[in-house]
């Protein structure tokens, strides 16, 4: 029995709940999505098709889903966590064996009106299950090795499955998102220190082994790392996208080149400009002002999530809210870092802006959970 169930006596009922929705968050989400519509319109050469219309429909569906999820008390979702996680693992297994082949990797299930990526779904269900796990666990036991091993297994299963697809970006997000929930729940910092130390050691070993008989990576993998570290070494090959992306960003300057005036995106110097590289088009056409505004909107969304998490006294609610915030943060931070040349190119879309149905819907459902936590917080 959760703290909330007996403390919150005055939970709003029925449609009155709508008054308690965090409308500021709704407005922020709509603003970010609108920036997405604008950019998709621009990269389509000033056309609603092929991207803007479906994206708007999905955002509409996402809003509806968010409100539906928000209306349901947060403890119901806690009870659903195991089921949700189980379903997403089953779907991951399904695409592993039967999924249609898209972009060379089996990643989605065709639902008719959209293509569902189970790996996107997993980002949320993983956070939910971990939050439910720590809600259930006595906090005094949680740093014991056995109770640390259980969440690690919960994380490892979907990470392994997405790695097999192979989708390095999503696997990374799952790993970091799951780790973040464990950290937030209060697992002893020594575990994290050990992981960081091991990571640093591994990276050092990888670089130290280069050129020796026992080198840990293949030559081409080293070259990819080189290219990331200095795109100019391979300006027409793998470094091309990074270089062109930075040119687009930089040439935007302070005020940008104007809506639909970005030469880099309009003349196809940018890859994947409606998905992973859409931020470059924004930065090129609206400059520093546009790019910084979007970053600000994202940070405000995070701020609202953190505030909601701190206001609720329910452990599941705050962990889920924070976990979703971290997942959302990882999304846009990795994407921006990638297009700005701060991180290697891994396929991570810009949340709510990039064209893509699964990510949009799953994120809106996730924010539905945040709203539910907000509505059903103690007053």
């Amino acid at each position: 029995m959760s703290f909330l169930e007996y403390t919150v006596k005055s939970t709003p009922n029925g449609l009155r709940k709508l008054l308690y929705v965090n409308w500021a968050l709704v407005i922020l989400l709509t603003a970010v999505a609108s920036i997405g519509f604008l950019m998709l319109y621009s990269v389509a050469g000033g056309s609603m098709s092929p991207w803007v219309e479906p994206q708007m429909q999905r955002f509409g569906m996402g809003l509806v889903a968010m409100f539906v999820v928000a209306m349901v008390p947060i403890w119901f979702w806690r009870n659903m966590s195991g089921l949700a996680y189980g379903i997403s693992i089953l779907l991951l297994l399904y695409v592993e064996f039967f999924g249609a082949i898209g972009m060379g990797a089996q990643r989605w299930i065709d639902l008719g009106f959209m293509r569902l990526q189970p790996s996107e779904l997993t980002k949320i269900t993983l956070v939910m299950l971990l939050a439910a796990y720590y809600d259930w666990l006595d906090s005094r036991k949680m740093s014991r090795p056995l109770y640390v091993l259980i969440p690690l297994l919960i994380i490892a299963v979907p990470v392994m499955l997405t790695l097999r697809q192979p989708d390095l970006g999503t696997a990374l997000l799952l790993l970091m998102g799951g780790g973040a929930v464990m950290f937030l729940a209060g697992v002893h910092w020594a575990y994290f220190a050990a992981v960081v130390a091991a990571g640093v050691g591994a990276v050092t070993a990888v670089f130290a082994s280069r050129g020796t008989p026992w080198q840990l990576l293949q030559d081409y993998q080293y070259r990819r790392i080189d290219t990331f570290l200095d795109p100019s070494t391979d300006p027409l090959g793998a470094g091309y996208h990074i270089t062109q992306s930075q040119i687009a960003l930089g040439s935007g300057g302070f005020a940008g080149r104007g809506f639909m005036q970005g030469t880099q995106s309009r003349l196809n110097f940018l890859p994947e400009k409606h998905t992973d590289f859409i931020f470059t088009t924004l930065a090129e056409e609206f400059g520093f002002i546009g790019a910084a505004s979007l970053l600000l909107l994202y940070l405000l969304i995070l701020l609202f999530c953190v505030i909601t998490a701190l206001q609720t006294k329910d452990r599941f609610a705050s962990l889920v809210t924070l976990g979703i915030a971290v997942a959302f943060f990882l999304y846009f931070a990795l994407n921006m870092a990638m297009v700005m040349g701060l991180a290697p190119v891994v396929g991570v879309p810009l949340p709510l802006v990039s064209y893509g149905g699964s990510a949009m819907l799953v994120l809106m459902v996730a924010f539905g959970l945040v709203q539910s936590a907000h509505i059903h917080r103690p007053r």
Partner: protein, 650 residues
């Protein structure tokens, strides 16, 4: 499960603390991202803006129209014609084979070219236009244009290509253009970007090559926006090309045509100059060739035909040919002797048919000898022995110095390819080049224009113009560039004694007009057209003593390549010189029989301004001359459309 309030409190506090740490990390990351944006978009914005512009803007060159070349009256000698061609864009033609098949039904296409074009299309980006055929007629191009709907991707286009409307007449003057080859780029070191334009033509020979800088013009540019694949999206702006300068030559196209025609059948070179100005009115070399063949890229068959012809049509004998000047050199020896004061005009030398030097005999061309010769007689009858005597008195250094004053052994500055320097030998020259000392016998040989002495027809024409005027006349071939007069030279006085000049001129007058003159047959009946000149016959073989005893074999009985060269230099009218001519007929036999008649006809043509009427000729030659002129393949006067005649450029 029961949970104590304390456990819940502790946990909430822990989560609160940890969430602040995480929030801090997120805020920090946000700050890093913002910092990166600031760096890229504010600090380095200008660099990246420049890179973006470089990405998108592509500069294309626009070829300049090559300058036109006209003759002195404005007749077009080298022009630019529309070159109609068809290009094809692969991505616009759904099925290239089908489109090519339809196209080949409409116009006559070269199958080899077609398959090469097809391969090129498949190899290059789908939007790059590839030339399928060029040099189509207007009719063919119209047919293609009319059937455009059935030929997707096919575009009729036009560019400019060089054309020489007067063809072979001007191969040895105007020359020709050709495509830019790797060899051309290497040897000239020319880095003009215009050379990168596909199908661009550069001057390869004669005036086209030597006046390349004036004729070429400057490339224009257009800036186009391209996408990442290189496809042109739109044109941003253009800076039109500057066409090359138009040249007007000193050549008279009609006279040039007459000279080339008159020499058909011979291997010969001739130069006609205006004696007062040095303007070259005609510069011909026979046989000649059609320069248009080279513009299109000459076929192997044509090349072999030209290259294997023993009359060497590709050689420009007028400026590249080196011939012993023979007796035409005697005026120089005479002038050198007179100026040196080693002989007086009246003094006679006895010619007994030879001169003995040591144990060697130097023969006169007339076996029996000329008897007593003074200077005028020696020129009129071309006595060799007189000049053997003169040469010994004057010495080779003074003779060769005089030769150079008259333009022999000097490279004249005319814009033609391979202009030779000739040779007016000195003692030092022989030591340096032959490693032997100069012998008196060498001087004797030089005195009759044999031995080491070598001259080109151009040099002999310059010599004649200087003899006719006593002034330092220099040849000029470019009259004006873009309407601006180009370097008209009025030769300074040479500082020769007027009596000496008059004496030699008198001798030259008698060559053509005295009954005993070597070119008496090549005279004119009309006093207004009186010709003065000098014949020359230069040996290309040694006549042995044995042969001389047995009787020298006549030229007609020798194989062609062993016959003597026939030469003639002359000017007219005698009392008011206007035109000078030199003619060299390779292996033509004697100067008086092979070269003088041609030179006479040329001088009469130059003076009369058209084909000379029979009345100008001695009565007994009129029938023969009429026949000759009827046979000459003369071209009707072409339309005058040049700078002095009409509009300067189409």
């Amino acid at each position: 499960m029961k949970r104590t309030p304390k456990e819940t409190e502790d946990s909430a506090r822990l989560i609160g603390r940890r969430s602040l740490i995480v929030a801090g990390v997120m805020a920090g990351t946000g700050a890093v991202l913002a910092g990166r944006m600031r760096y890229l978009q504010l600090e380095r914005a200008d660099d990246f803006r420049l890179l973006a512009e470089e990405n998108r803007i592509n500069i294309r060159l626009l070829p300049p129209a090559r300058g036109l070349i006209f003759d002195r009256a404005g007749t077009l000698l080298a022009g630019n014609e529309q070159n109609y061609r068809i290009t094809m864009v692969r991505e616009d033609a759904d099925d290239i084979d089908e489109v090519l098949r339809r196209l080949s039904e409409l116009v006559n296409l070269d199958m080899g070219r077609l398959s090469r074009a097809r391969e090129e299309m498949l190899a290059r980006a789908p939007f790059v236009p590839v030339t399928i055929a060029d040099r189509l007629s207007w009719e063919e191009l119209s047919t293609v244009a009319v059937n455009a709907p059935a030929l997707p991707g096919v575009t009729p286009e036009f560019g400019l290509s060089r054309i020489y409307p007067l063809g072979a007449d001007f191969a040895h003057v105007v020359g020709y253009v050709g495509p830019v080859s790797d060899w051309y780029l290497e040897t000239t070191g020319d880095t003009d970007p215009v050379l990168q334009i596909p199908d661009f033509q550069v001057g390869r020979y004669n005036i086209e090559a030597r006046m390349e800088n004036s004729l070429r013009g400057r490339a224009g540019t257009k800036r186009v926006e391209v996408n990442a694949g290189g496809r042109v999206m739109r044109e941003l702006d253009r800076d039109a090309a500057t066409p090359g300068s138009d040249l007007q030559l000193t050549i008279d196209a009609g006279l040039q045509n007459y000279v080339e025609a008159r020499m058909i059948g011979e291997s010969a070179g001739a130069v006609v100059m205006e004696v007062q100005t040095g303007d070259v009115l005609a510069l011909a070399s026979a046989p000649t060739f059609d320069p248009n063949l080279f513009v299109r890229g000459i076929s192997t068959t044509d090349w072999n035909t030209l290259n294997q012809d023993r009359y060497r049509p590709l050689a420009n004998k007028a400026v590249q040919g080196l011939y012993p000047p023979g007796s035409t050199y005697k005026m120089i020896v005479a002038m050198a002797a007179l100026e040196a004061g080693v002989i007086t005009p009246e003094e006679t030398v006895y010619c007994g048919g030879f001169t003995e030097l040591g144990n060697r005999r130097f023969h006169c061309w007339r076996r029996g000898g000329h008897g007593h010769m003074n200077m005028i007689d020696s020129i009129t009858q071309s006595c060799d022995v007189y000049y053997y005597e003169l040469a010994q008195r004057t010495g080779i250094e003074a003779i060769s110095a005089m030769a150079r004053r008259f333009g022999c052994g000097v490279r004249h500055d005319v814009p033609l390819s391979g202009v030779v320097e000739g040779l007016a030998p000195t003692m030092q020259w022989k030591r340096e080049n032959r490693g032997e000392d100069w012998l008196v016998g060498d001087t004797l040989n030089a005195s009759i224009g044999q031995g080491f002495v070598l001259s080109s027809p151009l040099q002999l024409a310059v010599m004649t113009a200087r003899l006719a005027t006593g002034r330092m006349i220099s040849p000029r071939m470019v009259k004006s560039i873009d309407g601006r007069e180009a370097g008209a030279l009025h030769g300074e006085d040479m500082g020769l004694h007027p009596n000496h000049l008059a004496l030699i001129q008198e001798g030259m007058y008698r060559v053509n007009n005295h009954r005993r003159g070597t070119a008496y047959r090549s005279r004119t009946e009309d006093a207004a057209y009186t010709i003065a000149g000098k014949t020359g016959t230069s040996q290309v073989r040694n006549i042995t003593a044995a042969e001389r005893r047995a009787g020298v074999i006549s030229n007609a009985d020798l194989p062609w390549e062993r016959r003597d060269h026939a030469l003639y230099v002359g000017y007219a009218p005698y009392d008011n010189p206007r035109y000078a001519v030199s003619v060299v007929v390779e292996h033509g036999g004697g100067g008086s029989t092979a070269a003088a008649p041609i030179a006479r006809d040329i001088l009469l043509r130059a003076q009369h301004g058209d084909v000379p009427p029979p009345e100008l000729y001695p009565a007994d030659q009129r029938r023969e001359i009429e026949d000759l002129h009827e046979r000459l393949p003369l071209r009707p006067a072409p339309p005058v459309d040049g700078p002095t005649g009409g509009s300067s450029q189409a």
